[in-house]
Amino acid sequence: MKLNGARILLECLKREGVDTIFGYPGGTVINLYDELFSFKEIRHILPRHEQAGVHAADGYARATGKVGVAIATSGPGATNTITGIATAYMDSIPMVIITGQVPTALIGNDAFQEADIIGITRPCTKHNFLVKDVKDLATIMKKAFYIARTGRPGPVVVDLPKDVQIAQTEFKYPETVEIRGYKPTVEGHPKQIEKAVAAIMQAKKPVIYVGGGVILGNASAELVALAKRLGIPVTTTLMGLGSFPENDSLSLGLLGMHGTYYANMAVSNCDMLIAIGARFDDRVTGKIASFAPHAKIVHVDVDPTSIKKNVRVDLPIVGDVRDVLVKMLKIVDEIGPDAEGCRQALASWTAEIDGWKEKHPMAYKQATSTIKPQYVIQRLRALSDPDAIVATDVGQHQMWTAQFFGFTAPRTLLSSGGLGTMGFGLPAAMGAQAGFPDRQVMVICGDGGFQMNMQELATIVQNRLNVKIVILNNNFLGMVRQWQELFFDKRYSSTCMELPIDFIKLAEAFGATGLQATKVDEVDEVIKKGFSIKGPVLMEFKVAREEKVLPMVPAGASLTEMVLAS
């Protein structure tokens, strides 16, 4: 039977196991939406802005591990997706974004609502496709999903002209996919792995440095097994949080600009750095020349371009992180001493690290009445489900969440690390909630970033998405204010929000519940009440306005040059 392009697209999504999509209609996708009207196998959620739709699909993908799908119309709909796509690209999130396009005959004519979205998204997608013939549609969709989810994952755009949605052809979904220019390396080189393990066993002061690749590669269990087997301490990037339980004694927490004192000291003093699924971002390394100056570096990553991009590497291993970790563990079992023996061998190193932990633990000064933002984060952890999913926005609250929440499971922290996109948190939480209707999902955001996508309260209420919204309200663009305090003589240029917003009324206007805490002894009550109410709740915490995120390594300084909490 012949089907039209719009229907074929939906059939492809179904065959890829897609159950939820986020999209916004318009002229060039009206045919697609017409098919969707009677297509009941896929849940469609209408955000209130295409950027939020893409962030929601992204949050869905980060939380579930599946490919996130978003739809937008041509022109302004498509250009509205760019920030969302770039956010996903920087964090390697598997997504397929479908954009409508003007009819093929009009492409290039400056037609109404035409934008060259293939040209615009080329540098912020893993790949993109313009579908010119309905006969190619099924194959392109198969390729799009394959590319999005394999190797180093990433967003793929499929641009679908209106006439292609209308044209009909026989539908057959290809069983296999063959792209001769795309063969992601999955298996690490056995000799390299052997060499790496041998070097790791020789090290006296090893540290494991983990990035988001371990979460994307579903390799947390293998990481935990290897680290514990060898007794090697683990520090993670923002994107790696949750891959290794922070309540384990081997955990050093976050490293880098706002990392812990002991993580940064350990990395700066180690003789062996094992980087797994991480890319040596400048927020992590500080000044490159003095990063891990005494260390041999082993680097495991699925993307060869990540290796030796900005630091020298002694033992590169290109491959799927899980595959490599499994093989490493096997070799350790063959040639190494038992776990106790390994622990013994590193006893003086762990003692040195314990000394740093004692000297400068993660801490903040509690106040008598004012709410400290760090305290709210700690109470959120204490009063939420162990498997709760936490999305964050970008700013101080994001760093406090990273420092004080204590993540213990992968895919429980959803945060825009690479692009640092304000406005990401609320829609991402919405997407995660759609993926896990039965789990607790909260977003921790600042008063600034919340306002960048607060229209999504409507989507959340309309779709009965049980999202708990936590606003740490300092009435400042706090992170920028902190930089102005430290590096610009407290010249708070355009970082004070001035207009106090009644967030409670705002929540109520959308049909959500609003709660507020202004004093420290109200914090628990608000959190408990917020979590106990079924349905969306906005919890506003008026926090200490000029609190700083510490420790802090100033941009461009070495990791050892930390400004510490007094």
């Binding site: 293939i118 080329r122 540098p123 893993k126 001769r180 060869p304 371009t305 030796k308 991009k309």
Partner: protein
């Protein structure tokens, strides 16, 4: 260091802009670039000349390989490759310099492809070094216009290079 890199790509719409966009987006240099279909119609071959230290060249070849439409990348080593470029050059040639232009053309086995009372237009092919040497000799006589294909490169030996 100068490197001549050959890139075999899908002969598809937009591929060249992916390659060029990679260079501009990441701040890599392109000294020259040529592209045309190959004996296999489904493939095009790009030859580009770029500069950088070892680490940059490694990044360039890795990043090129990462593009989905790129099938193969070879950073040719001079001793295993033959490199040629073609130039068309319009030289001022009046009175006393007319003979000199022809003499230089003869030495470099360039062809005269257009003549006017005031100029010669020459066609020359050869290694970039040879063509460059000819240009330098012609320059003092008055170069009116110079156009070059940029180098193309092919491996030595019997083995062909396919997708």
């Amino acid at each position: 260091m100068k490197h001549t890199i050959a890139v075999l790509v899908e002969n598809e719409f937009g591929v060249l802009s992916r390659v060029v966009g990679l260079f501009s987006g990441r701040g890599f240099n392109i000294d020259s670039l040529t592209v045309a279909p190959t004996n296999d119609e489904a493939l095009s071959r790009i030859t580009l000349v770029t500069r950088g230290d070892e680490q940059i060249i490694e990044q360039i070849t890795k990043q090129l390989n990462k593009l989905i439409d790129v099938i193969k990348v070879i950073d040719f080593e001079a001793e295993n490759a033959i490199e040629r470029e073609m130039v068309l050059v319009k030289v001022a040639a009046e009175d006393q310099s007319r003979a000199e232009v022809l003499r230089i053309a003869d030495i470099f086995r360039a062809k005269v492809i257009d003549v006017t009372p005031k100029s010669y237009t020459l066609e020359a092919t050869g290694t970039p070094a040879k063509v460059g040497a000819m240009i330098e000799l012609l320059r003092p006589l008055g170069l009116k216009e110079l156009v070059s294909t940029g180098p193309v490169v092919i491996g030595r030996g019997a083995k062909g290079w396919k997708g």
